[in-house]
């Protein structure tokens, strides 16, 4: 929460809405008066009309949204589960990490979008190639946060475990794992956004469904209001995903 809750005597939320409305009005006027060609910037009323029509009348946007969401969640689930498992494997067996790390570092350094043509070839135009791209981003993010988290164990806690006579299994389960949770969570939050990024990027390149595909189609046919409506939807989607993750995190990490 922001500390100063007023701007020029107005509540912050009111000031925000006023600023947004003013910006929209200027945009609308600029387009209506032809100061800038509306073909390029669209107009807010048209964007909102497209947005609501797509969501509630034709439901076209809803269908695309569901495809994108399904791809994102699948990529996120697969990427985070394998990321955490491989991360824990690395922590438990440092030799495995030493062996694989340079290979993973190379893969992770690769601009992931460059893999898109390969994934299309392997997995086809459908949702699988999008999941693969999202996975390739989420996996490495969650993996490195898991390793970093498990390494950040407080040395006092290890000494305590030592003097208590804890077994290595007990140390892993009761100390290493819970110590890693906060760092893993920040990795998961980032991983979710990157899963969305991977899926959208995949859809933009070649797809049959999804908000990314809809974006290229609308831009290609000069439906600029549609493009902005999809961008608005994507921003709202990204914000909701982050919000959900933060809520889950706050619930699970009440002790912080």
């Amino acid at each position: 929460m922001s500390r100063s809750t007023t701007v020029l005597g107005f509540p912050m939320w009111l000031a925000r809405i006023v600023a947004l409305l003013a910006f929209g009005a200027v945009w609308e006027l600029t387009a209506r008066l032809g100061l800038i060609n509306p073909l390029f910037i669209g107009n807010p009323s048209g964007i909102l009309a497209f947005f609501f029509k797509g969501l509630f009348v034709t439901r076209e946007l809803v269908v695309h949204l569901l495809w994108t969401l399904a791809g994102t969640l699948a990529a996120f689930m697969l990427g985070s589960v394998t990321g955490i498992l491989v991360g824990l494997l690395f922590v438990a067996y440092p030799k495995v990490e030493q062996f694989i790390d340079p290979i993973f570092a190379g893969l992770n350094a690769l601009p992931r979008i460059a893999l898109a043509p390969l994934f299309l070839l392997w997995f086809g135009l459908g949702i699988t190639s999008k999941i693969a791209l999202g996975f390739s981003l989420t996996f490495f993010i969650v993996l490195s946060s898991t390793v970093a988290g498990a390494r950040s164990v407080n040395s006092d806690h290890l000494m305590l475990a030592d003097t208590l006579g804890a077994s290595s299994t007990q140390i892993f389960r009761r100390i290493t794992l819970p110590s890693a949770v906060p760092t893993v969570f920040s990795g998961l939050r980032l991983g979710l956004i990157y899963a969305l990024l991977g899926v959208i990027a995949g859809e933009i390149i070649a797809a049959q469904h999804g908000l990314g595909q809809s974006l290229t189609f609308l831009a290609g046919t000069f439906q600029i209001n549609g493009v902005f409506a999809v961008l608005l939807l994507l921003a709202l989607l990204g914000m909701s995903l982050t919000w959900i993750m933060t809520a889950v995190e706050a619930r699970l990490l009440r002790w912080r």
Binding site: T163, L164, G165, A166
Partner: protein, 266 residues
């Protein structure tokens, strides 16, 4: 090197500690402890004081099995020191509470690690939290507790282990004077009701005199034992009441004169 005593003689009450001619060097060169010999009887409360860097913590860590014995011999309840022995509990100046566990879960954590049955450790942890004055804070997480309260939880965790031997490394060293006084009272009350063997490291002489049966003075590095003084103040004691006790001040002054000798070496 280590004397082995048959397991049958290691009964619960056997909390004797025997240190004989122990020498300890760091990295094979820096002499930290030089020819220390000390016997602690079962149920005795012994404090070790000395200038900082005198090797008192090294000596304690040798007893705890956190450092290997290089020269001389150490026997803790008839066996060689080993980290994680169930008849030894160790307590540090830093509370080292697990932030994701609440006060009750932290208090019973050690007992849980040592597989003390759930029902017993729960009842014991509750009872101890009440004894250290945190009965109504069972569900509070460490972040919500003050430093003094966290150290109380650590004290409860240590006592919940039911180990006949307690090794304490400046457990109240990080606390303000008032909180320290309160926790000394709590420790005295706990110890008086159970009489475990305690080796207590501190740099605070008044604390050592108020709590102990004997105060050991170590010299500056290389640390060696230069005085072993009996504190024959009657028990049960109250740390507060002792502040007005003439004999307490006499003993304090006497040990202080020895400690001054130790400090001259620094």
């Amino acid at each position: 090197m280590e004397q082995r005593i048959p397991a049958t003689s290691v009964v619960h009450a056997a909390g004797a500690i025997d240190i004989r001619d122990v020498v300890h060097r760091f990295s094979g060169e820096v002499l930290a402890v030089s020819h220390a010999t000390l016997h602690v009887a079962p149920g005795e409360f012994v404090s070790i004081v000395g200038p900082s860097g005198c090797g008192k913590t090294t000596l304690l860590n040798l007893l705890a099995g956190l450092l290997p014995v290089q020269e001389g011999s150490i026997s803790v309840a008839g066996a060689a020191p080993r980290a994680g022995r169930h008849d030894v509990a160790y307590m540090l100046a830093r509370d080292s509470l697990l932030p994701w566990l609440n006060a009750l879960q932290n208090a019973r954590f050690g007992a849980e690690i040592r597989n003390i049955p759930a029902q017993r450790r729960n009842a014991r942890a509750r009872e101890l939290l009440t004894q250290v004055g945190l009965g109504s804070f069972e569900h509070a997480y460490p972040k919500a507790l003050s430093q003094g309260m966290r150290q109380r939880v650590a004290l409860a965790r240590t006592f919940c282990l039911d180990s006949p031997i307690l090794l304490m490394d400046e457990p109240f060293g990080a606390l303000d004077a008032q909180t320290k006084l309160q926790l000394e009272e709590v420790l005295l009350a706990l110890w008086t009701s159970e009489r475990r063997t305690v080796v207590f490291i501190t740099h605070d002489l008044s604390e050592a005199v108020a709590l102990s049966d004997r105060v050991i003075v170590m010299s500056a590095r290389p640390g060696t034992i230069i005085a072993d003084i009996k504190v024959d103040l009657p028990r049960p004691r109250s740390v507060r009441a002792l502040q007005r006790d003439a004999r307490y001040h006499d003993i304090y002054a006497m040990i202080w004169s020895k400690l001054e000798l130790a400090l001259e070496g620094t």
